[in-house]
Amino acid sequence: MNEVSMQVAGETLELHSERALYWRRERCLLVADVHLGKGAVLRRAGVSVPTGQTATDLARLAVLIDLYQPQRLIVLGDLVHGDATAQAPWLRQVGEWRRRHAAVQMTLVAGNHDRHFDARSLGFDLAGEALQLPPFTLLHAPATRADSYVLAGHVHPGIIVHDGWRRHRLPAFRFAAHCGLLPAFGTLTGLHDERVLADERIVAISPGGLIPLT
């Protein structure tokens, strides 16, 4: 299955297997940790990774925008991975992609990787460190807020799924009592698995679709 609906803080959120979350009532598409241009940073550091991630990730976002027709795209931090020179080829690709989706409002909640780069040049609004959209507070790094439910990214949540004698390490959505974590959207990102809390609801993302685990 590619989509799973989930009740969080009284709202219905639709989880998509392309590692995005759609909040239909507000027509908001949420993704976290896109890390555009990460390949270029790695190549500059001498790690020869092939090119093409930025194009792939932009295409995935375009498909999601076509599917849900959102009013607004909100990125929960780490839109770009590192410093970018103005002539970086991937930056041009992002610019073109942005122009194609000019009707969609795009907002960036600042992440730790975003401090070197001004996303306004790409037509993003800057929401600062936190964006209040009751009942939610959107952050980059997870935290707890007394008055609202937090949706965040940053940790690149993963989970180990046991299947008989096999174990698979998969990216996941994780919703605890006061804070929900989105998987990292970028293709060139790793995983970090944390212990599962008792009251957590987890949806793993496998190449064959979503697997609600709890």
Partner: protein
């Protein structure tokens, strides 16, 4: 090129000087030593094989020293390559003594990863005639543009402990380095020193192409005793820790002044050390542990303690098999089967240095069937059926590293480099297309990066020669030479700073701060992990996990398993071990069948949890693992079901709720070598295995960089893992040479493809005995208790998800 005739008066006078020095030590040159000296003078290459401590070093250095007496020259004359940095200091001292005694004005220097900057500066000025170094440091020397100049007076290379290098990537790297030296200096001789192997000719050919084999004195007599269970004692049929033997081992240790206890894996060593510590009545500091993951400083202290006799007992793994002599060790104890003939012989040789007395070793079986393995090992040692150590086929990752070294060391031209590399045994079969693919990867970063000139490591100049233009590439490359030995491990150190050693990341990633574990003989508590270092403190209580090291368990060697099959079938074996085993073998005969050497036994048993099929090819656990997967896959084509499997060194078990009906004919088909390679591909998740293997491949080839020594900047901070790179490459550049390399290593090393194929051919030719047993036979029982290693489902991600969802729903509904 002969340097001097051994019949000349001058040579005889020089040799007399060497013999006079031997006489002052109260010794006489052995015939093999004199033979080696003469062969050197004749300008030949060679391999000297003899047991440790019989004078191999002097056999090898004598020739060059005589040469130096006759033709004194300044500048680097002799290169001495040693596999271990820790041996370099000892060796350099030993060689210096000989140099001084011969009154040769040679300066002896060592150059390893831990040389002082003073030593390095001296070396850069060329201030030495004899250089002791490691394969990695040789590669580093070759990566400087003045390499040709530095080696222009070289007369020869001696490779110490060649048997330790031959089957590893370091051995491949060394072959490439020697090919370079030979191109720079064709008259340089190449000599190797080796323990006795089953394939000495191959070892010589791999090292030097051609030359003379010189055998040393025969080894000491070896006496193998076994800690036999008492009559009537309940002794386990399975297991591999053997801790129930603790009282016997303790008694045996305390009978002598100092003892070495060998375990087969690092985890087993940690557990045995802990067990001994808990009953140790002597001062605590007289018991120590030694294995490859412990910090070199601590290891060195342990070795020093053994030498000086301050330690009464050291629990060790194969980390102590190598090099240094411990003449004060009175007794060697082997826990569990040694799994190899040569290894048992080597370990036994660690004790009894008194002249004329045999080396003694006490073998402690961990389960009953190991009694037969010990008896078989004794027979194989008597017959000197030792294991070969096969050289590796040259890897593309090592090739990539070497090409960059060539580019830095003065540049190269593609055709000439291909010819030079093809002159080594490792790369004699290398297709030009693969060579070009590696060149392409270095030049353009693989097909996917062709358009990005700034990421190119190699640059082709106008004259067609390949070189490196970026200083950063040069610096990174020199820093990453020598990372072959490192594995993906984290340093373990106390908060205060003292280093304890290294454990694998995969183990530590399962621990959280506050968790406890047993390491280097200490109970530790993890405080935090930062900058590739795990900071620990001493844990207040004794409880916790023991680190598991990847690939810890050695498979039973081919030589030992051949002997084992013969020994088990030998009805009137005289050995005490087999008498103790007789009741068990009688049970096996009664309930099933005891396989003869030319037979493969197949048993089928129904148990409460389902049907079991047991196959006993005695081919070692690696080959069995591949075979089990193939068999399960072939069964699943006969009848769709979930098949799980387990393996040990004797055989494999396949289990399913219901197995299809089988006959001799269907079994023969199932065990046939036809389509083996494609069936392996279909049955094993090769991708997943290759993904793990890729880590080492990527590091050796310089695809990922492990960080500057002593600096915190690591690949981790770049947030890229080799696993991630593997996935990306598979998607965007599936023909990348390093992906191919990773898969080949899985087939060759992890699944032991060659042995698996051989075993199936043997089965197809031999007799198959198929028995349906009412209850588990003694041979089957250990497999039944073994954890299931894997299985075969005929599925893809879609059906996996469906199955998992169904399971989850069932669990929720209950």
């Amino acid at each position: 090129m002969p340097t001097s005739s051994t019949t000349s008066a001058a040579w005889r006078r020089a040799e007399a000087r060497l013999r006079a020095w031997f006489a002052t030590l109260g010794r006489k040159p052995a015939p093999f030593q004199r033979a080696a000296w003469r062969a050197w003078a004749d300008g030949r290459n060679g391999l000297i094989h003899a047991p440790t401590g019989t004078g191999k070093t002097l056999a090898a250095v004598g020739g060059p020293l005589l040469d130096a007496v006759l033709h004194p020259e300044r500048g680097l004359q002799l290169l001495w390559i040693t596999p271990l940095r820790s041996l370099a200091t000892d060796t350099a001292q030993h060689l210096s003594t000989a140099v001084t005694a011969m009154d040769v004005p040679w300066r002896v220097l060592r150059r390893t990863g831990d040389s002082t900057s003073g030593e390095r500066a001296k070396l850069r000025r060329g201030d030495c005639e004899l250089l002791v170094t490691t394969p990695e440091s040789l590669a580093l020397l070759l990566s400087y543009p003045d390499a040709a100049d530095r080696f222009k007076r070289l007369r020869g290379v001696v490779v110490d402990e060649w048997h330790e290098l031959i089957s590893s990537k370091r051995g491949t790297l060394l072959q490439l380095g020697l090919a370079r030296l030979r191109a720079l200096r064709p008259q340089a001789r190449i000599w190797g020193l080796s323990a006795t192997l089953g394939n000495l000719d191959e070892a010589l050919a791999t090292l030097a192409g051609d030359g003379v084999l010189i055998g040393g004195v025969a080894g000491k007599r070896i006496q193998i005793r076994t800690a036999l269970p008492d009559p009537g004692e309940r002794f386990p049929w399975a297991g591999h820790l053997g801790l129930q033997q603790l009282p016997r081992v303790l008694r045996s240790v305390l009978e002598v002044r100092s003892a070495l206890v060998f375990a087969n894996t690092r985890s087993q060593a940690e557990l045995w050390h802990e067990a001994l510590a808990s009953v140790w009545m002597e001062p605590a500091q007289t018991l120590a542990i030694h294995h490859g993951s412990i910090d070199p400083k601590l290891r060195l202290a342990t070795e020093e303690g053994l030498r000086q006799g301050t330690l009464r007992c050291v629990v060790a793994t194969s980390s102590l098999d190598l090099g240094v002599d411990f003449s004060s060790v009175d007794r060697v104890i082997q826990i569990g089967s040694p799994k190899g003939v040569a290894r048992l012989q080597q370990r036994a040789g660690r004790s009894g240095h008194a002249p004329g007395l045999p080396s003694k070793i006490l073998c402690v079986p961990t389960h009953l069937l190991e009694l037969a393995e010990i008896a078989a090992a004794r027979r194989a040692i008597a017959a000197q059926h030792l294991e070969p150590r096969r050289p590796l086929r040259g890897g593309l990752d090592v090739l990539a590293q070497h090409l960059l070294t060539l580019a830095l060391g003065g540049g190269f031209e593609a055709d000439a480099a291909y010819a030079e590399i093809g002159s080594t045994r490792a790369y004699a079969q290398l297709p030009r297309a693969q060579f070009d693919a590696v060149l392409e990867y270095l030049q353009h970063g693989g097909t996917a990066l062709a358009g990005y000139p700034e990421y190119h490591k190699l640059v082709r100049g106008d004259d067609g020669r390949f070189g490196v233009s970026s200083l950063r590439v040069a610096r990174l490359h020199r820093l990453s030479i020598g990372t072959i030995t490192a594995d993906g491990s984290l340093q373990v150190r106390y908060l205060k700073g003292a280093r304890l050693g290294a454990v694998e990341e995969s183990f530590l990633s399962r621990l959280r701060p506050g968790d406890r574990f047993l390491f280097a003989g200490r109970h530790l508590e993890l405080v935090r992990v930062r900058d590739m270092t795990a900071y620990v403190r001493v844990a207040p209580s004794r409880r916790g996990a023991v680190p598991r090291w990847y690939g810890g368990r050695m498979p039973l060697s081919g030589e030992l398993s051949d002997e084992l099959r013969r020994t088990l079938a030998d009805a009137d074996a005289p050995e005490a071990e087999l008498r103790a085993l007789a009741p068990l073998l009688a049970l096996q005969r009664k309930g099933s069948h005891l396989p003869q050497p030319d037979e493969v036994l197949v048993e089928r048993t129904r148990t409460r949890e389902g049907d079991y099929l047991f196959v006993f090819p005695f081919a070692g656990r690696l080959a069995h693992e591949g075979l089990a997967a193939v068999l399960a896959y072939r069964l699943s084509r006969m009848q769709k079901a979930d098949y799980g499997y387990a393996v040990n060194d004797y055989g494999l078990a396949i289990t399913a709720r219901r197995l299809p009906p089988l006959t001799d004919a269907t079994l023969r088909e199932l065990l046939h070598p036809w389509h083996l390679r494609s069936d392996i591909r279909a049955s094993i998740n090769l991708t997943e295995l290759a993904r793990r293997q890729f880590r080492e491949v990527a590091r050796v080839a310089g695809l990922v960089f492990n960080g500057y020594p002593g600096s915190a900047k690591t690949v981790h901070q770049l947030q890229v893992s080799s696993g991630l790179l593997f996935d990306v490459l598979r998607q965007h550049d599936p023909t990348h040479p390093l992906l191919w390399q990773a898969e080949r290593e899985v087939l060759d090393q992890q699944l032991d493809y060659a042995r698996l194929r051989q075993c199936l051919i043997r089965t197809a030719r031999g007799k198959l005995v198929y028995v349906e047993t009412a209850r588990l036979s003694p041979l089957a029982f250990p497999l039944w208790v073994e954890r299931l290693r894997g299985g075969v489902h005929a599925d893809d991600w879609k059906s996996r998800v469906e199955r998992m969802l169904a399971t989850l729903e069932k669990a929720a509904g209950r």
